[in-house]
């Protein structure tokens, strides 16, 4: 069966520090991968999606970047965190529109 792993679960980082969040998927090949952010009082916002290795599309201008070095690995990064980067980050995968499966999320607090 397919599973998605996301870590760490919580993270507290100072302003200006770098960020790396990792997501891996098991049990499927060539999935579409996504990074979402959920801020308090707002819905889930799509940040990045990827349809293959090295292929990254960004939905909103921001301080973050994403990479997909392997088929089932998706990384969210920042060189210098801002206070506004705080939020709940979720990784997800899908095969076309046949269901989107989410990871357990990372709670990021920038202080």
């Amino acid at each position: 069966s397919q599973t998605i792993h996301q870590w760490p679960a919580t993270l507290v980082q100072p302003v200006g520090s770098p960020l790396s969040l990792e997501c891996t998927v098991e049990g499927t090949s060539n999935p579409n991968l996504y990074w979402y952010r959920q801020a308090a009082g707002r819905g889930l916002q799509l940040l990045f999606y990827s349809v293959g290795i090295g292929q990254i599309s960004s939905e909103v201008p921001q301080n973050l970047s994403a990479s997909r070095p392997q088929d089932r690995q998706f990384i969210l990064s920042s060189k210098k965190l801002l206070l506004s980067d705080s939020g709940f980050y979720l990784c997800a995968w899908s095969i076309r529109d046949y269901g989107y499966t989410f990871g357990s999320g990372t709670r990021l607090t920038v202080v």
Binding site: Q6, N32, Y34, Y36, G41, R42, G43, L44, L46, Y49, V51, S57, E59, F88, L90, A92, D97, Y98, G99, Y100, T101, F102, G103, S104, G105, R107
Partner: protein, 112 residues
């Protein structure tokens, strides 16, 4: 532009008190409508996908229905463990983008 609006924002029910959550959407060419359940501090958990008007799906005390403009999540005789935020989402309709547009969710509390 794709839009998903959920109502009410919050709903408090007594155990056993049935109700419905609403999800209205605007999209050019619906390719499915998804319902998720999200517990505090966790990722959304998939419940249902509906693809065409008139379609219905059920799971335990939940039933999802779809029309051309909205979807309803009916909760029958809810229990305290049904307390969660329920999210509705639709796939992006075009422009080469991929992913889901989410509503802000309905925060449901079932009191014993």
């Amino acid at each position: 532009e794709d839009q998903v609006t959920q109502s009410p924002e919050a709903l408090r029910l007594q155990e056993g008190e049935s109700s419905s959550l609403n999800c209205s959407y605007t999209v050019s060419g619906l390719r499915g409508l998804f319902w998720y359940r999200q517990d505090p501090g966790k990722g959304p958990e998939f419940l249902f996908t509906l693809y065409s008007a008139g379609e219905e799906k059920e799971k335990e005390r939940l039933k999802a229905t779809l029309t051309k403009k909205e979807s309803f999540l009916h909760i029958t005789a809810p229990k305290p463990e049904d307390s969660a935020t329920y999210l509705c989402a639709i796939p992006y309709s075009g422009g080469g983008a991929d992913g889901l547009t989410f509503g802000k969710g309905t925060h449901l509390i079932i009191q014993p």
